[in-house]
Subunit: 226 residues, 2 copies
Amino acid sequence: MTKNAVVLLSGGLDSATVLAYARSQGFECYCLSLDYHQRHIAELQAAKNVAKVMGAAAHKTAQLDLSLFGGSALTDDAIAVPVSATEGIPITYVPARNTIMLSLALAWAEVLQAQDIFIGVNALDYSGYPDCRGEYVKAFQDMANLATKSAVEGKTITIHAPLIDMTKAQIVTLGTELGVDYAMTVSCYQADSEGEACGLCDSCRLRRDGFFAAGLADPTRYKMHA
Amino acid sequence: MTKNAVVLLSGGLDSATVLAYARSQGFECYCLSLDYHQRHIAELQAAKNVAKVMGAAAHKTAQLDLSLFGGSALTDDAIAVPVSATEGIPITYVPARNTIMLSLALAWAEVLQAQDIFIGVNALDYSGYPDCRGEYVKAFQDMANLATKSAVEGKTITIHAPLIDMTKAQIVTLGTELGVDYAMTVSCYQADSEGEACGLCDSCRLRRDGFFAAGLADPTRYKMHA
């Protein structure tokens, strides 16, 4: 019997790999993206394409304008995306973003009677975001299992974060083995409307270094710089 | 020094009481409502009025269409609101609603540098929703304190649920002492556009019984039934 899972799909490299992984484990995948009025809107088109090509059972995009609260370079136009490494947690951190996305996944999972949620966080080659760590994922799972009607009736939820301890190089190696076409994915924090990447932001750097370390060609489409 | 708090404000009886309580404790209150395309849209207008009259520092309404997932009588027009008591958790339960609302409150709290979030859940005279229990609130707080940049930097979050162990009668007594005008609040799951209550749904029954048990006049505006 196939099992349903909700897969958080941003349109970036990590979540595309997670979708391929969940499919390889036999899950029917219900992919969820969040339009939170992020700068990098090309990501959402990429998510749509990735879901289709990789055989998702369904794909939904929830609309939630997080610029209502501000406080991040990704949602507040008044704050620039940094193009060099910074100390501490960078300004591209979006307050409570993964908590909000997992909460939405939890809602959909309950309606689908799915007991599995996949998220592409990883705590190794990452930007230091607190909601990308294993202890956070575990705490969310504990909370989720007290939160829903399904859980209290015995259908407990597992939050899968299969990339959590992997390097970017290991992630792209896994995805390549599973047939992910990374040219379709968009990681850049300030990709243009065509999905072309800046090559300079934290997210671009982590991604490029990953392909390099894995000895794989980087299929990312970069903007031409004058 | 005044402290900032985010107060989840539905426009109903409980959250109005919580706002009055938080104000009485000296908090500057940033009130957050969620337009999740609920049937009872009059609730949101009530929230706006309540925030204004009760001296909120600000009031925001986040837009998030939970009918995207369906699965509840409050968001799915194909499911009727029950007008008699039912066994178990009723169909008016909205999957993961409080988790989603607390997640949004967490995001705003972090931007405001607030360390306190108030929610009007109670686990005594309630509809049996799992996300209204103390153990759930505690688990959310534990998760929140691993989720955000502020928390990992030492500004931990407290989720206050001051009504959690109170009866509806105790709640309306407290609110009345604190000067809440309950005529402004809307609890009914199927209130009309004027905010008039059906008097028949679970939420109306709990509210009416509360005023009766407290020996207080019920100021609720009910629809005239033919």
